[in-house]
């Protein structure tokens, strides 16, 4: 038992402790907080955030950040719902992959701009976010005759098939498994951690650091769009700014899970813990009927607090 505990990061352990605390606190407020139906519902919601946080985590591991998440999520949602309208039944069948492909394109653009032009990621992705918004405004202004989610999308996002576990959770599981596999068993995983730790040494070791960067941003874009597809499936339609509420919680989840904001350190297990923690926090606030205002403030305070504890820069002088 102690060996297993030792192999887990301290922040992750703390995160799991807090999850337990949250569950207990929630149950005090509401009697059915710990009921299976409610928990599974939380799991479903956590899946959407979890998929976004997975992409965000990869980019943060590199020491970068993807601020285009809000509108790439929306792109995913809108493009997938539009596919059916544009291309009929083939479109409907391809809705999900098409939505994801659009997100991938945005991710590639992010990666290229940052890798080749060496524009700081926070600035470039912020700009791309605005461009994505512009494109979506253009799109909804007149083009899409249909903004309904396909039946498949709805089924994945809302239904539960196996043992009552939400399908969305399985999507998250697949994404998570793929990411864990990549990080732990492939060279790319090693390169990602190395890059985040020390890009210069990684470059000088003969690694194609540009490709690593572009790849991670592309994945982040694709995963954000996938989440958008699922969200559209969940509400049966896509709508403007559907991705806006997810940026800060995604970053908070990654950071809470022990991933260092400067890059190079972090485990997927931690991100999972962070996502669950955030979702539970959200639901407790909802149960306590706390307004949006407090939710925002708490995100901000939580991120700052976690960063102060784990993500401080070195003392440069003296």
């Amino acid at each position: 038992m102690p060996a297993i505990l030792k192999s887990v990061d301290r922040p992750v352990l703390i995160a799991f402790c807090f999850i337990i605390v949250m569950l207990l606190a929630g149950s005090l407020y509401s009697s059915n907080f710990l009921s299976p139906e409610y928990l599974l519902q939380q799991l479903k919601i956590a899946s959407f955030l979890g998929i976004i946080a997975s992409g965000a985590m990869l980019v943060i591991l590199l020491g970068h950040i993807d601020l285009s998440i809000p509108w790439v999520v929306t792109v995913g949602g809108m493009m997938s719902t539009a596919a059916g309208g544009w291309w009929g039944p083939t479109g409907e069948a391809m809705a999900m992959p098409f939505g994801m492909a659009c997100g991938l394109v945005f991710g590639l653009v992010n990666g290229l701009g940052i890798a080749y032009l060496r524009i700081p990621s926070m600035i470039f992705t912020l700009g791309i976010n605005a461009v994505a918004q512009g494109l979506m405004v253009l799109h909804t202004g007149g083009f899409a005759p249909q903004d309904h989610a396909t039946a498949f999308m709805h089924w994945v996002a809302v239904e539960s098939t196996v043992f009552g576990i939400p399908n969305a959770a399985f999507v998250w599981l697949i994404v998570g498994a793929a990411i864990v596999f990549m990080l732990r068993r492939t060279p790319l995983g090693r390169y990602i951690y190395a890059f985040g730790n020390r890009e210069s040494a990684t470059y000088l070791s003969g690694v194609n650091t540009r490709a690593v960067l572009i790849g991670c941003f592309a994945l982040s874009g694709m995963l954000s769009a996938l989440a958008g597809v699922l969200l559209a499936g969940y509400s049966n339609k896509s709508f403007q700014a559907m991705g806006d509420p997810y940026l800060l919680p995604a970053i908070a989840a990654v950071v809470l899970g022990g991933t260092n904001i400067l890059g190079g350190r972090g485990t997927y297990l931690g991100t999972v813990a962070g996502v669950i923690l955030i979702v539970l926090l959200q639901s407790i606030l909802a149960v306590m009927q706390m307004q949006e205002a407090f939710r925002q403030m708490i995100y901000g305070v939580v991120i700052v607090a976690m960063l102060l504890v784990y993500g401080r820069g070195a003392k440069v002088h003296g």
């Binding site: 068993r185 492939t186 060279p187 090693r190 730790n197 070791s205 003969g206 190079g264």
Partner: protein, 515 residues
């Protein structure tokens, strides 16, 4: 001291260690007011640590320091400056985007209540620059638009503006034109006559001869001797600088076979103004050393070969094929097979928080991959092989590489590259800051690699290593190859003389033309 009066500055028993390396060993040193005091020594002799301690940038581990008879300690450069000790370092402390006047009066500018009086500041800058004969520098010019020589003058003006009692110059004239150098000398002499103590670090014998009243030689972190101007000639001074207590035992060098087609041929390589028309040929199994003072282009040459620099002109031929190497990834590729052991292992060679295993396999991991999955067994086997071969002292391979000693860290960097089966190995000062025992092992390793056919190009600041390890030595000066030494000509005296741009002794003056 030469005239027996009370020294302005006195250090007694000062020592400083960095990890396992002793930078200063029980040094007693003093300098007097109204004298220009030169400090001489090879790279690594302790000169820069000495002045960093005097200027308050680092604190000594032991010993005492007295200024004007009173004991002092400095916890920051600002404290030393307040006490009247001003240092001009090699890395300039100017802000490029600010004006000359702003830079000169960056702290305690003229003005009241926290505001700056720009006119008074300008006047102050003009006065100080005039003292240096630099009236052509306009106070409102941005520093970044000025050439390096002017910037150094501004740095000196800034230091003067702080009214120092002791002025320290660390290679402060290295980028100045000859005319500027004379101006600076004039100013320094005047300051000396006004009562300042001036500490002057330089490698240029001509400067020392012209300027210094007193001269101190450092070697291996020890203060060897201080003597007055004119009491020793160049030869005797070089002798003092190069004497050694500990003699490394170097592996034997094999007799060179008849010249075959070189493995690496560099022709007319240039890069900006840092590398000028470099031509060099290195044979298979040969160890060629790069010598010379710091910053003459050695580092840039290695980076250029490894694909890190942009805008290179000239030709590089590897194994008979001309190559345009545009990135380390390309350099590492089997077609070229190059490796670079970089200068700073902490920021360029290793990812310190990552495990020893991850660091060691970073360069060769692609070859150890089956499909997409890393073959962990093969990886472990190769790493074990390296650990045996290099005798790396490591506990758990999963420990962060930061927990290893400096010497073992460097061995991990070397192991990383040996795992790629490189044919050409470039090394950028590989034994800096490493303990004696590991250095020994690295020398043997290099010779073994060379005997097995690896081509080695090797830059080191330690002249003794150049003598002991290299089959040939190319001395760089100002971005050019000044001289190549071969065989019996590779002596420390010849290397030091070449580095200082002095002619070789008569009997050794067969300066081989670069190939």
């Amino acid at each position: 001291m030469a005239d027996g009066s009370m020294p302005l500055w006195r250090m007694t028993g000062v020592s400083k260690r960095y990890g396992g390396v002793t930078a200063l060993d029980n040094v007693d040193f003093s300098c007097a007011a109204a004298r220009i005091h030169a400090v001489l020594g090879e790279n690594g002799a302790g000169k820069s640590t000495l002045i960093k301690i005097i200027a308050g940038v680092v604190q000594p581990d032991s010993g005492t320091m007295e200024l004007d008879g009173r004991p002092v300690t400095f916890r920051s450069p600002a404290e030393a400056t307040r006490a009247g000790i001003v240092c001009i370092f090699q890395e300039l402390s100017l802000m490029p985007d600010l004006t000359v006047a702003d830079n000169i009066s960056i702290t305690r500018p003229p003005g009241r209540w926290g505001f700056i009086n720009p006119l008074a500041q300008r006047r102050r800058a003009e006065e100080l620059l005039a003292r240096l004969g630099c009236e052509d520098v306009h106070p409102t010019e941005l520093v970044k638009n000025l050439p390096l020589s002017r910037r150094q003058m501004i740095e000196i003006a800034k230091a003067l503006g702080r009214n120092p009692k002791i002025l320290i110059l660390d290679e402060a004239t290295s980028a100045l034109t000859a005319a500027d150098v004379q101006k600076v000398y004039a100013v320094l002499r005047k300051l000396r006559d006004d009562g300042l103590a001036i500490l002057y670090i330089s490698h240029r014998m001509q400067e020392i001869a012209e300027l210094a009243d007193d001269c101190s030689v450092f070697r291996n972190g020890r203060h060897i001797q201080t003597f007055a101007k004119g009491t020793k000639n160049d030869d005797e001074i070089v002798e003092l600088m190069i004497g050694r207590e500990y003699k490394h035992v170097y592996p034997a060098k094999p007799a060179r076979a008849a010249a075959t087609e070189p493995m690496v041929r560099i022709e007319n390589l240039s890069w900006g103004d840092r590398l000028q028309d470099i031509s060099l040929a290195i044979g298979r199994g040969e160890i060629v050393g790069l010598g010379g003072l710091d910053g003459q282009g050695q580092r840039e040459l290695l980076l250029a070969l490894f694909g890190v620099l942009r805008g290179i002109t000239g030709r590089v031929t590897i194994d008979g094929r001309t190559q345009r190497i545009g990135s380390p990834r390309q350099a590492k590729s089997p077609a070229i097979g190059m490796a670079l052991i970089p200068e700073d292992r902490k920021t360029e060679g290793l990812m310190l928080p990552m495990s020893v295993r991850d660091n060691a396999s970073m360069a060769a991991i692609a070859a150890l991959t089956r499909g997409v999955i890393v073959d962990r067994k093969a990886e472990a086997a190769r790493i074990d092989e390296m650990i045996q071969k290099l005798a790396i002292k490591v506990g758990d391979l999963a420990n962060p590489v930061a927990t290893l000693s400096g010497g073992n860290q460097q061995k991990v960097v070397i192991a990383k590259w040996l795992m790629t089966n490189a044919r050409v190995v470039l090394l950028n000062d590989p034994t800096r800051g490493i303990d004696v025992g590991t250095k020994q092992e690295i020398y043997q390793l290099l010779r073994n690699l060379a005997d097995a056919g690896t081509t080695i190009l090797f830059y080191t600041t330690d002249y003794d290593e150049l003598v002991g390890c290299c089959d040939r030595v190319a001395i760089l000066y100002d971005g050019r190859i000044l001289r190549e030494l071969k065989g019996a000509d590779i002596t420390e005296r010849n290397i030091v003389a070449s580095a200082l741009n002095l002619p070789l002794e008569a009997r050794d003056s067969r300066a081989a033309a670069p190939a």
